[in-house]
């Protein structure tokens, strides 16, 4: 088979996947050992992270090189697009599990405990009434002690504005890319990364505030603390990943890797960024506001 240009590219053998398996397994065995209190676990985790990073750099590097050499035709490009879309869908379902937990707690389990289900209330927590069960609650045993929630109209509202603006700036970057204006493209990308990082900075600040004496809101603050930190935490983790991806893409934009009709990587990251944006809107409404 000759290397016909314009055909579907099928790579022959790759050592990156097995390295990825070794990296991930080392990382997870290390983490599990750490949770079990074994010695040397942190070291193992570190090695796992290192191997995984090498794999990511190597794998993406290989793909970028192949892309620059023009080995991918339109059909390969479509495969990537479908792949990324379904990956984002799987991420949506991951968040759906935690949103599901939030809604279940608010609509069912807390009201049931508080007496909507009489026998549950009588047998388990007869003193837990509708007043003490009003959301936000840390449950009938008031786990984690008294706490107060964060004001949604301060940092969270600001953060909403930041993320929404970053959705605009990345679109402006996309337009610049399509027009072939590299200066504006890089400028808007840097702005997007900056907005993402500012969001993360505010999130960190807010977590410190929450854990402080004034709010005393922690992961241990019953079901409210659990859902609050799990949802915002996983979202923050995804924003971090997104920001790293954006930074890489910004560098690639500056190097001139993309043309007006061939920039899948840019669009993939833009889709991902819009996805974390939309998840945040869900968080802002259902975790902070209502």
């Amino acid at each position: 088979m000759s290397a016909t240009h314009g055909g579907y590219y099928v790579p022959h053998g790759s050592h990156w996947p097995i390295l990825g398996s070794i990296g991930l397994t080392t990382l997870l065995v290390g983490f599990a050992s750490l949770l079990n209190g074994a010695s040397g676990a942190t070291m193992l985790m570190g090695i796992g992270v290192l191997i995984t990073l090498v794999m990511l750099f190597g794998w993406f590097g290989t793909v970028i090189n192949e892309s620059l050499k023009g080995m991918y035709n339109d059909q390969v490009d479509r495969s990537f697009r479908w792949g990324m879309s379904w990956f984002i869908f799987s991420e949506v379902m991951f968040f759906a599990a935690f949103f599901g937990a939030l809604f279940y707690a608010r609509i069912y389990s807390v009201p049931w405990l508080a007496g909507e289900d009489v026998s549950t209330n009588q047998h388990l927590w007869p003193n837990f009434d509708a007043d003490s069960a009003a959301w936000p609650t840390n449950g009938p045993a008031a786990l984690g002690g008294e706490f107060s929630v964060l004001d949604p109209w301060k940092i969270p509202a600001l953060n909403t504005l930041l993320l929404l603006s970053s959705g605009v700036t990345i679109t402006l970057a996309h337009w610049a890319l399509k027009k072939g204006n590299r200066g504006a493209l890089v400028g808007w990308m840097v702005a997007t990364v900056a907005l993402g990082l500012t969001f993360l900075g505010f999130q960190v600040y807010e977590y410190i505030e929450a854990y402080g004496e004034h709010h005393n809101l922690t992961l241990g603050s019953g079901i409210y603390g659990s859902t609050f930190f799990m949802l915002t935490g996983f979202h923050g983790f995804h924003v971090t990943l997104g920001a790293i991806m954006l930074a890489v893409i910004t560098i690639r934009c500056a190097k001139g890797h993309f043309s007006h009709d061939n920039h899948f990587a840019f669009e993939a990251v833009a889709w991902y960024w819009h996805f974390v944006d939309v998840v945040w809107l869900g968080l802002f409404i259902f975790v902070y506001l209502v």
């Binding site: 022959h12 053998g13 990156w16 398996s21 997870l28 792949g83 379902m93 599901g100």
Partner: protein
């Protein structure tokens, strides 16, 4: 659409030795790896089943202690579901989908390698828990809190191995979807696709939708145990029942992930040996899609006795019963395909027919379990065990066996030993019924599942069941012998292999070239 394939010219066609299998990006190599891994796990999980049946051979405690018994039931399920049945289907998808749709390979070959090569690591992690302080997970494969939170050192390893299996499944499923939507040969329209491709497309969608939910559920278990959260703790306003809801939102679609590809296999095999086209092709597609849709709205029928509001019981009961409609469409279509066909009964056809009859028995017992007031009696008894083993062993596993016999000549270029194949079928069918049929009676009489000891009134049926179990287990060694004999040699298979076989994979030589369709075929 382009019609040619390019390859990385820097490498030789094949890497030699073991590393070929580690680095491979070829759909056939990866398919083979999946299938052999699944066979290995089938025997690991099977060995655990033998321990269970040995303990249950007589009332009283004789072979293992109760804690180890519980580890066996838990690990047997996890290994058979995630290690044996799912990888077997993904292996078949890898081998067959590119050949069936006229593609050179899977759409994302490197990721294909990774989805396989995560599995050996995930199962090494899971199996290593047998040696840990506190033993392997013993709270059941459903991992219900608060019981599962009492697991010893194995706990985080259980959670992380489930995460890894999820990552593998999601990547595999994305690859299947992308291959089917983007890699079809010109003229291969959606409604011309073989049924196996259709059922896998829908299965892949289910996988992408629910594996992340399982990941979320087990992550909450992890944080409840180690990071102070109270998702499943009523003291903090959470609810252990919430875990069951989230788990079964994954778990019920998972049940169809384990059976839809089997429907596809049987829909390929029956027309071949009845020498008639599949009856009601489009209704098969719609039935599969309907089953997939319904699978998302029936989950709580696994939890009828947990204390749900009456409206919940009713909704989930009726929604569950609705599934019998599209499933009935399928069974009637298979029967109608055979009607006045020119039938022959080679081994794959025997397994496919065994599937139709015995899967239907499992379907009917499922319908009985769907009736909420009746389920109050059946819940967590051996009736449930009998039900899901009929759909999973005589259903999924029989279909996988049928597929192995049907396509083995295509894969290896050799015919398997037909006499031995028939022996394998008849012994399996006899013993699997000796094994599982009496469990219906045990369950109806009230014997609970997942308990190592039982009241003496259950002794006879348990002994019969155990004897059937040992014999069924031994019979599977015959399958291994047949497969390896076929790989090593045997009568030369023709390209078409079966007189009535239709479809693109039968136009390729047996065995097919390393890259299936380098130039896409034209479908009329």
């Amino acid at each position: 659409m382009s019609t040619a394939t390019t390859h990385d010219t820097h490498h030789a066609e094949h890497q030699s030795g073991l590393l070929r299998w580690v680095f491979t990006t070829n759909h056939k190599d990866i398919g083979t790896l999946y299938l052999l891994f699944s066979l290995l796990m089938f025997f690991v999980g099977g060995a655990m089943a033998m321990v269970i049946r040995a303990e249950l051979f007589q009332p009283g405690m004789q072979v293992v202690d109760p804690m180890f018994f519980n580890q066996m039931t838990t690990m047997h399920a996890l290994i058979m579901i995630f290690g044996a049945v799912m990888p077997a289907f993904v292996g078949l998808a890898n081998w067959l989908i590119p050949m069936m749709i006229g593609a050179p390979d899977m759409a994302l070959p490197r990721m294909n390698n990774w989805s396989f090569w995560i599995l050996p690591f995930a199962f090494a992690m899971l199996l290593s828990t047998l040696l840990m302080a506190g033993g392997a997970p013993a709270g059941g494969w459903t991992m219900y809190p608060p019981l599962v939170l009492q697991t010893g050192d194995a706990f985080p390893f259980l959670i992380f191995s489930v995460h890894l299996m999820g990552i593998s499944s999601i990547m595999g499923a994305i690859n299947v979807v992308v291959t089917i939507v983007n890699m079809r040969a010109p003229g291969m329209t959606l409604m011309k696709m073989p049924l196996f491709v259709w059922t896998w497309l829908i299965t892949a969608y289910l996988l992408i939708a629910v594996m992340p939910v399982l990941a979320g559920a087990v992550t909450m278990l992890l944080t409840d145990k180690f990071f102070d959260t109270s998702f499943f703790n009523a003291a903090g306003g959470g609810d252990p029942v919430m875990f069951q809801h989230i788990f079964w939102f994954f778990g019920h679609p998972e049940v169809y992930i384990l059976i839809l590809p089997a429907f596809g296999i049987v829909s390929q095999i029956i027309p071949t040996f009845a020498r008639k086209p599949l009856f009601g092709y489009s209704s098969m597609v719609y039935a599969t899609a309907s089953i997939a849709f319904l699978s998302f709205i029936v989950w709580a029928h696994h939890m009828f006795t947990v204390g749900m509001p009456l409206t919940g019981e009713l909704f989930f009961m009726y929604a569950t019963m609705l599934i019998a409609v599209p499933t009935g469409v399928k069974v009637f279509n298979w029967v109608s395909t055979m009607w006045r066909g020119s039938m022959t009964f080679e081994t794959p056809m025997l397994f496919a027919l065994g599937f139709v009859v015995m899967f239907t028995i499992g379907g009917f017992s499922g319908l009985m379990l769907a009736i909420a007031p009746v389920d109050f009696q059946y819940h967590d008894t051996y009736f449930v065990v009998a039900h899901f083993h009929y759909v999973l062993v005589t259903g999924a596993i029989f279909a996988i066996m049928a597929a192995a016999y049907y396509w083995l000549p295509k894969w290896t270029g050799h015919m398997y030993n037909e006499t031995l194949g028939k022996w394998h079928f008849w012994l399996s069918t006899l013993f699997v019924n000796v094994l599982f049929f009496p469990q219906h009676f045990l369950g109806l009489a009230g014997m609970p599942r997942r308990i190592p000891d039982y009241s003496v009134q259950f002794a006879e049926f348990n002994m019969i069941s155990s004897l059937g179990g040992f014999a069924y287990g031994l019979t599977q060694l015959l399958f291994v012998y047949i497969v390896f004999q076929t790989i090593r040699g045997g009568a030369k298979a023709t390209d078409q292999v079966w007189e009535g076989a239709k479809g693109l994979e039968w136009t390729l030589p047996s065995p097919p070239p390393y890259h299936s369709f380098e130039t896409a075929p034209q479908i009329k």
